[in-house]
Amino acid sequence: MKGSFGFFINAKNLRFPSLISILCLPLMAAAAPPDVPAVIVIRNATILTVSHGNIEHGSILIKDGKIAEVGVSVNAPKDAQVIDAAGQFVIPGIIDCHSHIAAESINEGSVSVSSIVNMAEILNPEDIDIYRDLAGGVTSANILHGSANAIGGQTLVIKLRWGQPAAKLPFEGALPGIKFALGENPKRSNFSIPGQPRRYPVTRMGVEETIRGAFSEARDYKKTWNEYNKRAAAGERNLIAPRRDLRLEPLVEVLEGKRYVHSHCYREDEILMLLRVAKEFGFKVRTFQHVLEGYKVADELAAADVGASTFSDWWAYKVEAYDAIPYNAALMTQRGVVVSINSDDAEEATHLNQEAAKSMKYGGLSHDEALKMVTLNPAMQLGIDKRVGTIDVGKDADLAIYNRDPLSAYAVVQKTLIDGRVYFDLQRDIAERAEREKEKKALIDKFKKAAEKKPEEKKPDAAGQKPGEEKPEEKKPEAKKPEEKPKPPQTDGIDSGSTVTLGGAL
């Protein structure tokens, strides 16, 4: 899992796109986005609205991608497409407040302030993890930069519209964000390249000063522009505009409340540090991410009205995670903090419903409170709760349908809808597998034939591989793969267990 290495390496760390995958993937991704029937009605479901209780044998009417009616009975037109959800549970689509899917890369780690880079510009709509997370009921995700820098890159919220081009992924109207990071990662405590000097900062003191320094600059920069704009507006002529600074512009947006701060953190002291710095410069921290010691300063978090987005039960992969406890979410909730459970990992995102359920065992939260951790609460934290997060009339029809109560390890997603379109359908997924296999086999055969036709390209099997030893489904020798991007052994965020030292989100 997120844990360890070598023998213990997670299969997800074994991932590397084989030639076959590369050949197949564009075909899979090229599948047109699902049709959007004008009217859909989901019938006979147990509806967990999150906002106003549960409805047994309920129906949801969806018109033009929005929820039009919810109740025991709805006025569905005759031509409405019907989804019979008898015996099934419908919840608002899961919102993952900390994700690194659909990104070509996630860490500009060369500098301590990398606010110049923007995740919105490197979205990869063909990342298979989009589909896998959809299959886990996830409909929206906060796509964050990594945590290598005290001030990291710009971030955005997306909807998991698999099959759509990159331009269709961003969550319309959602305020953009910026990643901050405190503690071991921006200090590069667990990471160094032999022979290279260490990068400032290497202490938590330096992390504070890096942030304070950047905001001092940003404040001056803002003042300079304000002055210029004022004089220009007053009609002053021959003014020379200040030079644009792309690094400081996002920080000015933070100061103006136009961009959310999502700060990676672990220890109680660094959490309070950032709250002090934010107060000093007059900006708000929107969410603390991971915030594994949030339970120690829950009152302070509640008083600052800042959201906490944490893991369910990760711990001990590094020193700053040694005091992590699975009761964190419950303790913070009980002291008035809005808490979400996030993934930071494409696999973890496939069962966030289960991770939320753990807050009932560890700390005694109610079923409703637990479900909120992956629906309404992250929606509130990302400022998209007017659009998603509950099943209410007027909201986007972003829904996940399970075969049983989703707060169980036995629940399986049957369908995931975004904007009223079925983007994941378990039955369809299973039904299409045979066709996919056929397609894959045809591609392999084609590749083999092409290889046979070129005797000058020596077959790698010459190196002693017995004929027929290699089965077609296996990894091929792979001569050249220009499409392939170099990827670190794991693509997850920094907090993926001890892989902290290697993770893509470093």
Partner: protein, 447 residues
């Protein structure tokens, strides 16, 4: 504030039960006879017993069934409304060998060098590891501590023969009290034909031609073969001659039980090609192979069944190895293996996430594995695979009393473990997490 959570309450009772007598007299021996009464008992050796009793004395189960007489002087736990199961066995962990992954000083999982058959996990298991009580609180009563993880935390060591795995109880003052079997398996990482590797020095992916990768693979396999050959000769010399006739070699001595088929080898391999190669190799070498990892075991299930190779599966909650695999590839694999008669256990392959073992097994059930098989995959099957089936894994007369008492399905996320017995002793579920929880639960409201 919410009502005191049940886990906390259970812990307080346990503290009262365990700690108070200790205060009264530090040397006071704990009771040696226990009876759990009025419970639904899932023995995993036959059907469940309603309103059942299980009695154990001096660490071993003496009777189980309905209407069992309770011996005089027994410490009785009324488990009305509760359920009793064998304790969960996590059959691949680094328990006690690795405290904080990122801090190398706390990691003793992997020795440097490629061939270390003589190192033994039990030597380095820290009985005071914070992971042990945390894992225990999840109903896990025993684990296999496996050395030789390779990878970054071991200074880049990529050991092929990693050493001997030890089966241990998750309770005991010193390792001797914890041991079930000091040497339960020899750990081998099966070499891969790696055309792509990740170079940590430059933090970039390196590619090499297949022929070169194959050569390196062959070289490693030849080295393993060579070690085994030498071990065979050494074992023969040991049998036939006096010590004077051969120089003592600790590594060969450690391998002797492997070539004599007394000790199974736990072979880590995930891809179908590596699994196939490893199975063929072990078959030819006449070794007792246990496969570990096995992300693509489904591709070679017939081979595994026909050769009788048991498997320790990595967590189902793992993404498929290839981008074009079905999204549920690892989730549905247990059902597929069970249907084709491959014997397998499920393990956490971790410490921090050991407590997710039940969750993983439940997810396999959600994707088609019969429930009973899932339960057995974390209890009796791993016990049998590692030759401990006569000691642990079911609730039967004569077996060690490693038991859990729960308020529900032990694989479900919200189930609480109410009592836990290891070697017949009521064992505390107090742990680092509960301690911190209680401490901060009581933090006065900040002004």
């Amino acid at each position: 504030m919410k009502a005191t959570p049940t886990a906390l309450r259970a812990a307080l009772i346990l503290i009262a039960v365990c700690v108070l007598p200790a205060i009264a007299g530090a040397q006071a021996a704990p009771p040696n006879t226990y009876a759990i009464t009025h419970a639904k008992i899932f023995t995993l050796a036959g059907s469940a017993i309603e309103d059942g009793t299980v009695v154990f004395r001096d660490g071993k189960i003496t009777a189980v069934g309905a209407g069992i007489e309770i011996p005089a002087g027994a410490h009785v736990t009324d488990a009305k409304g509760l359920q009793v199961y064998p304790g969960i066995f996590d059959s691949i962990t680094q328990m006690g060998l690795r405290e904080i992954g990122a801090v190398s000083a706390t990691v003793d999982s992997t020795e440097t060098g490629n061939y270390n058959p003589d190192v033994v996990a039990a030597t380095a298991v820290s009985p005071s590891s914070e992971h042990i009580p945390v894992t225990r609180a999840a109903g896990i009563t025993e684990v296999l501590a496996v050395p030789g993880s390779g990878g970054f935390d071991s200074g880049g060591s990529n050991s092929v023969i990693g050493g001997q795995a030890s089966a241990i109880h998750l309770a005991g003052w010193v390792i001797d009290e914890m041991l079930i079997k000091k040497s339960a398996a020899m750990v081998i990482r099966w070499p891969e034909i790696e055309t792509q590797t990740f170079d940590f020095a430059t933090f970039s992916r390196k590619e090499k031609p297949y022929s070169e990768a194959k050569q390196e693979y062959d070289k490693q396999v030849n080295e393993i073969t060579d070690w085994l050959e030498r071990a065979r000769h050494y074992a023969q010399a040991m049998e036939k001659g006096s010590p004077a006739k051969y120089d003592r070699d600790l590594k060969l001595e450690a391998l002797a039980p492997v070539v004599r088929r007394e000790l199974p080898i736990l072979v880590f391999a995930d891809r179908a090609r590596e699994i196939r190669n490893a199975v063929e190799f072990c078959d030819k070498q006449e070794l007792r192979m246990i496969l570990a990892g096995a992300a693509e075991a489904y591709k070679v299930k017939d081979l595994l069944r026909s050769k009788g190779v048991p498997v320790i599966l990595r967590p189902m909650l793992t993404l498929p190895p290839d981008e074009d695999d079905p999204y549920d590839r690892l989730l549905s694999q247990p059902a597929e293996l069970a249907a084709s008669g491959v014997k397998f256990a499920i393990a956490s392959f971790d410490n921090s996430f050991a407590r997710r073992l039940g969750q993983n097994a439940a997810n396999a059930v959600a994707h088609g594995l019969p429930y009973d098989e899932a339960l057995k995959a974390v209890t009796i099957y791993p016990a049998q695979i590692f030759g401990l089936g006569d000691q642990i894994g079911t609730i039967e007369q004569g077996k060690l009393a490693n038991l859990i008492v729960t308020n529900g399905d032990p694989l479900e996320l919200t189930t609480d473990i109410k009592y836990l017995f290891i070697r017949g002793q009521l064992t505390s579920m107090e742990n680092r997490h509960l301690r911190l929880y209680e401490k901060y639960l009581k933090r006065p409201k900040s002004q």
